[in-house]
C-alpha cells in the first residue's frame, strides 16, 4: 500500500486520539491495514489498485470518527440533544480557547488600566461585562460548530485524503521504508480558521458601533481614538483575506506553498497595521476632554507596550515564515498542487 496514503490517514487519526495511547494505537492500526492489504493482494495475486487501496481505508471510515471511538471520555457538547460530537470537539475547544483567551486579555488590560488609574469600577460591573463578552463569543463559536456538526452528520462518508475530490495521485511504495508524506493542510484546521475569523469579523463589526464590547464598563468615560476607525477597513480586509485563504485550502489542502506565500502577505499587512497603530501614539481618549486624564494615559501606555510586544513577536514570526518559504522553495517541497512528494519504489 502507498505509505503516503496510509501516513496521511493515520496522521488524521492521530489528531483526535488520546495522547497517552496514541503511538500504540497507531502502530496497531497500521499493522491491521498492512495485514488486510497483503491478504487481499495474496488473494488476487496482484498488487491492489489505487482505488482498491483507498477502499481499504474508506472501509474504516472517517479517520476522525475512527479515532473518536478510542476516546472513552466521549467528549461532546449537548443541550438536550448532542450539538457537537467527539470528532469536532477538540477543534471546538481550540477555537473557543483562542477566542475566549483573546477576549480575556483585552478585558484584563482594560480592567488593569482602570485599576491603576484609580477609576472606581464596581466588581459587579466588571463581572457582568466579562460574562457578557465571554457569553457572546461562546454563543457564536458554539452556533457555528453546531452547523458544521449537522452538516458533517448528514454526510458521514463524504471524506477523502486528497483534498481534490478523490483524485488520488500516489505511487506504489514500500511500507517498510520511511518516506516523507506529502504535506497537506488539515481541512478541520481550515474550518477552524474560518470559524475563528468569522467570529472575529462579527465582533469587529459590533465593536465599531458598540465600543462597550471592547472597552467594557470603561466605555462610559473612554472612547476609541480615531486611528481605530482609520485601520478598521484594513483589519476587516485582512480578516476576510484569511477567510478566503482558509476556504481555498479547504478545497485544495495540498496547496501548502500557496498558504505559505499568501500567509506572508497577510502577515506583512498585519505588521504594517501594527506599525501604523504604534505611530498613532493615542489609542483611547476621554469621552469628555480633560476628564480621566490619568486613566486615559495609563490605558494608552499599556496599549503602547502591548503593541510593541505584538510588533516584535509578529516581526520575528514573519522572518521565520519567510525562511520557511525560502527553504521550501529550495527543497522543492510542498508546492502548489503538491510538488516535491517523495516516494520510494515498492519492494515485495
Amino acid at each position: 500500500m502507498a505509505q503516503e496514503l496510509l501516513d496521511r490517514y493515520l496522521k488524521n487519526v492521530a489528531k483526535v486520539l488520546p495522547e497517552a495511547q496514541r503511538e500504540d494505537i497507531l502502530q496497531e492500526l497500521r499493522e491491521d491495514i498492512r495485514s488486510e492489504v497483503e491478504d487481499k493482494e495474496r488473494e488476487l495475486g496482484r498488487t491492489l489498485s489505487e482505488a482498491e487501496q483507498m477502499a481499504v481505508l474508506k472501509q474504516r471510515g472517517n479517520p476522525f470518527a475512527l479515532a473518536a471511538r478510542y476516546r472513552q471520555d466521549d467528549r461532546s457538547v449537548a443541550f438536550g440533544k448532542r450539538l457537537i460530537g467527539p470528532v469536532l470537539f477538540p477543534f471546538y475547544v481550540k477555537v473557543l480557547s483562542f477566542n475566549l483567551g483573546l477576549t480575556a486579555v483585552v478585558l484584563g488590560t482594560i480592567f488593569l488600566a482602570l485599576g491603576l488609574s484609580g477609576q472606581n469600577v464596581s466588581s459587579g460591573s466588571m463581572l457582568s461585562t466579562s460574562l457578557l463578552q465571554l457569553l457572546i463569543q461562546f454563543g457564536i463559536v458554539t452556533f457555528i460548530f453546531t452547523l458544521v456538526e449537522r452538516q458533517s452528520a448528514k454526510n458521514p462518508d463524504k471524506w477523502d485524503l486528497s483534498g481534490t475530490g478523490g483524485g488520488l495521485r500516489f505511487k506504489k511504495i514500500d511500507m517498510s521504508v520511511d518516506p516523507t508524506p506529502m504535506p497537506r493542510i488539515s481541512r478541520l484546521e481550515s474550518v477552524s480558521i474560518i470559524i475563528a475569523c468569522t467570529v472575529a469579523l462579527i465582533w469587529l463589526t459590533g465593536v465599531r458601533s458598540y465600543p462597550f464590547l471592547i472597552l467594557g464598563p470603561a466605555a462610559a468615560f473612554l472612547k476609541l481614538a480615531p486611528i481605530w476607525y482609520h485601520v478598521y477597513v484594513p483589519i476587516v480586509l485582512l480578516t476576510v483575506a484569511e477567510i478566503a485563504r482558509a476556504t481555498i485550502n479547504l478545497v485544495k489542502p495540498d496547496w501548502v506553498l500557496f498558504r505559505q506565500v499568501y500567509g506572508l502577505f497577510v502577515h506583512a499587512g498585519g505588521l504594517l497595521l501594527v506599525y501604523y497603530l504604534i505611530r498613532a501614539g493615542v489609542w483611547v481618549a476621554a469621552e469628555q476632554a480633560g476628564d480621566y486624564a490619568r486613566g486615559v494615559s495609563i490605558t494608552n501606555q499599556l496599549i503602547y507596550y502591548g503593541l510593541l510586544v505584538t510588533g516584535a513577536l509578529s516581526g520575528a514570526m514573519l522572518l521565520v515564515r519567510l525562511m520557511r518559504v525560502i527553504r521550501g522553495a529550495k527543497g522543492g517541497a510542498g508546492g502548489v498542487g503538491g510538488a516535491g512528494r517523495q516516494v520510494m519504489p515498492r519492494a515485495r
Binding site: 495511547q21 500504540d24 494505537i25 502502530q27 496497531e28 492500526l29 499493522e31 491491521d32 498492512r34 495485514s35 488486510e36 491478504d39 472501509q59 474504516r60 471510515g61 470518527a65 475512527l66 471511538r69 478510542y70 472513552q72
Partner: protein, 112 residues
C-alpha cells in the same frame, strides 16, 4: 419513505442491536486462543460475527483495561504485532457469560 423501507431499516437496526450485545461474548470466546487483531477479526468474520475495526480495537482496549484480556507486542514474520489473550479473570467471566447466554437461549426457546 415506503412501508417496506421502514420495515427493513427497523429490522436492520434491531438486528445490529442484537448482535452488538453478543460482540463481547464473541470476542472473549475467540480469545481463548492467543491472536492478534487482524487474525481475530478474520476468525470472527469466518464464524459469521463480522466486526469492523473501529469497533473491535477500542473494544479490545476496553476489555484489557477491565482486566479481562492481556496483551503483548511480539515480533511475528518480521513484524511487530499486538497479541491478545483471555486473562484468568477473563476466563472466569467468559464462563459466567456463556452460562447466562445459555439461560437466555433456553428462555427464548420457551417463548417462541
Amino acid at each position: 419513505m415506503t412501508h417496506g423501507t421502514n420495515h427493513s431499516e427497523l429490522f436492520e437496526n434491531l438486528r445490529l442491536e442484537l448482535r452488538r450485545g453478543s460482540l463481547v461474548l464473541a470476542v472473549l470466546a475467540a480469545l481463548k486462543k492467543e491472536q492478534y487483531g487482524y487474525t481475530l477479526r478474520k476468525t470472527l468474520e469466518l464464524q459469521g460475527m463480522a466486526i469492523d475495526e473501529g469497533t473491535l480495537y477500542p473494544l479490545l482496549r476496553r476489555l484489557e483495561s477491565q482486566g479481562l484480556l492481556v496483551s503483548e507486542w511480539r515480533e511475528e514474520e518480521k513484524r511487530n504485532k499486538r497479541f491478545y489473550q483471555l486473562s484468568t479473570e477473563g476466563k472466569a467471566i467468559l464462563k459466567q457469560l456463556l452460562g447466562e447466554w445459555e439461560s437466555i437461549n433456553e428462555s427464548l426457546r420457551g417463548l417462541v
